[in-house]
Symmetry: C2
Subunit: 334 residues, 2 copies
DNA sequence: AACGTGGCATGCAACGTGGCAAGTGGTAGA
DNA sequence: TCTACCACTTGCCACGTTGCATGCCACGTT
């Protein structure tokens, strides 16, 4: 097995080049020659050598996805869409995780490229805009989320300001006025958290509800445990809270868990809204009201960006900033 | 950028071969030469060309993970461990999903190999043992789960019979006697489901509880929705059920959801146990009692198998069947 | 009969790297 | 002074593929 073009060519009595033409199907080959070669291909079980094609053609057929954590439901659901969308474009998806570590993030950001992958889909966590701008080679790259790199890089994201405002307005529409936000990340260059906080504040301001910094809870990570801890802090402080907008569903699920542990009823005493529309939220008790980004559209848009950049290499056109639709899904928790 | 050995060699005033020696660090190079070359490497920002190395050396540094769904929490958590374990061995992980489609499964099983990846980690869903045995090239391969391919392929799995029996015995120890099982898959060549059913039956038999086929519910997939539907069928039938062992946590979470919808209290009226120990279970209401497989150990074992096979290619030694430890985690649901 | 054309097939070269074995220059010992 | 040896360096080749340019042949035209 592992026959190469030369062996197939010998067997079919033609040149290597002709076999290559048959395999790629593009060049001009006489029908009977084509058939003879095809038979040899089948008999020997020929499979194109990816390494040689990569070396010759400069394309690996690989796209890297660099994210904080693949085990996080939002990212694993997104990865599922990306794998499918990539397959439709004859790409395969390489998954790398940074574990939220800036050093690893920088290393992967620099390292995965180097002719290994055709493109890079990066969800930055701690990298600063300055880090991001430093794109040493011409590897096409798309950023997920709103990192505000001065519009120099392709971005795909929902409008976090609008979405956060939508969620907050919904909580306001329920008559809640003591609304907290969980998920601020002032210590990170994380445009996403900052923009969700902005949308939250805007909606409160619109409704004439005074901002209360004590109700804006920062978290280190976006795990359930962080949401639970934040909720616990909020409740144990004793200040009135009748609703909470969490910047991710994971945070929201953790927050609901902490509320349940303290006997606080959701949604009666505490309305909870999340962000991401992960599957768990649909089965939580109560089911989670959330902002649903169109994940399939994100995947499609990201790959389209890469494909476009790749088509005209080196394409140094203006960065694209693609905004993806979102929906407010009202369920049981708010 | 994208300098190659030749350019570095020209700059350093040495031969390509010497630069290669410096880069790989293995051969004999005079200290001052090494330093000079190193400077040229740094100045030009040299990065080894993955394609050329792959072509020359036959190793791509890639391992493929072929699973039904990356969005499924069990698999995404496992993938997280695999990415980390792979990185420790200088491998990168390529993720492919079959969506439970036998045709795609077969295609990926055959197709990903072909010199593209150094190894294959496969979690078969619908492929028959006969399909699995047909390993056309020598690409090292590890199976996750118990597919019973006559011991011809490397396997890594927990002992599903023992684990299912452990979970069932726990339900029995609570005094429950009307115990159902959700997750049978008689229509698939799925050794895992079959073995969990076997363990379930064994534990019942040990306790002298008669087997009741009507309490063994089959499912098509392992999603929450399947668990919810199965639970609904079970409850709506009106036959007494005071406990249920689900073959996955996703099924269990769905089942708990369906129970809650019908006002059935867990664990008072219905004890629920799952399998997989996914993160959601730790935050469900009530928290989910489950069998916890050591996922990190699975990841390590799978990669070790691949590495061993790869080290002595073509290693046609006997297949290894590695059994991974599991623990029963007793939490709120049972 | 010589020529041009178009359909098809082929040889050469190169992508960047690393194994192999030979080559270089210098030093120590005979 | 010659040789043997050592430490270091190098040229050549092959991995499998595809772009390019060219070769060959048959057929129809002039």
């Amino acid at each position: 097995m592992a026959a190469n073009l030369r062996q197939v060519a010998d067997r079919a009595g033609v040149s290597v080049r002709t076999v290559s033409n048959v395999v790629s199907g593009f060049a001009l080959v006489a029908p009977d020659t084509r058939e003879r070669v095809q038979r040899a291909l089948d008999e020997l079980g020929y499979r194109p050598n990816a390494a040689a094609r990569h070396l010759r053609g400069g394309r690996s057929g690989l796209v890297a996805l660099v994210i904080p954590e693949i085990a996080s439901p939002y990212f694993s659901e997104l990865a599922a869409h990306l794998v499918r969308a990539a397959e439709a474009r004859s790409w395969m998806l390489l998954v790398q995780q940074t574990d939220g570590d800036p050093e690893r993030e920088r290393r992967l950001f620099d390292g995965v490229r180097g002719q290994t992958v055709d493109g890079l889909i990066l969800s930055p966590w701690a990298l600063s805009p300055a880090d991001l701008r430093r794109n040493p080679d011409a590897t096409p790259m798309v950023l997920l989320g709103e990192q505000d790199a001065d519009g120099l890089l392709d971005h795909v994201a929902v409008d976090s300001v609008a979405a956060a405002a939508d969620a907050t307005r919904h909580l306001l529409s329920l008559g809640r006025r003591s609304i907290a936000a969980i998920g601020a990340q002032p210590h990170l260059h994380n445009g996403t958290a900052a923009r969700r906080l902005l949308g939250f504040r805007q909606a409160l301001a619109e409704a004439g509800v005074p901002a209360d910094p004590a109700r804006e809870i920062a978290v280190d990570r976006l795990h359930r445990a962080d949401g639970a801890a934040a909720m616990a802090r909020l409740l144990d402080r004793g200040a009135p809270v009748d609703a909470v907008f969490c910047f991710s569903d994971q945070l929201a699920l953790g927050a609901m868990h902490a509320a349940a542990e303290r006997g606080v009823r959701v949604p009666e005493q505490l309305a909870v809204a999340g962000f991401d529309d992960i599957e768990d939220g649909r089965y939580a008790g109560p089911t989670l009201t959330t902002i649903s980004p169109d994940k399939q559209a994100i995947a499609e848009a990201a790959l389209t960006c890469l494909a476009d950049r790749l088509a005209r290499t080196p394409y140094t056109g203006p960065a694209r900033r693609i905004t993806i639709d979102h929906t407010l899904l009202v369920r049981g928790s708010a």
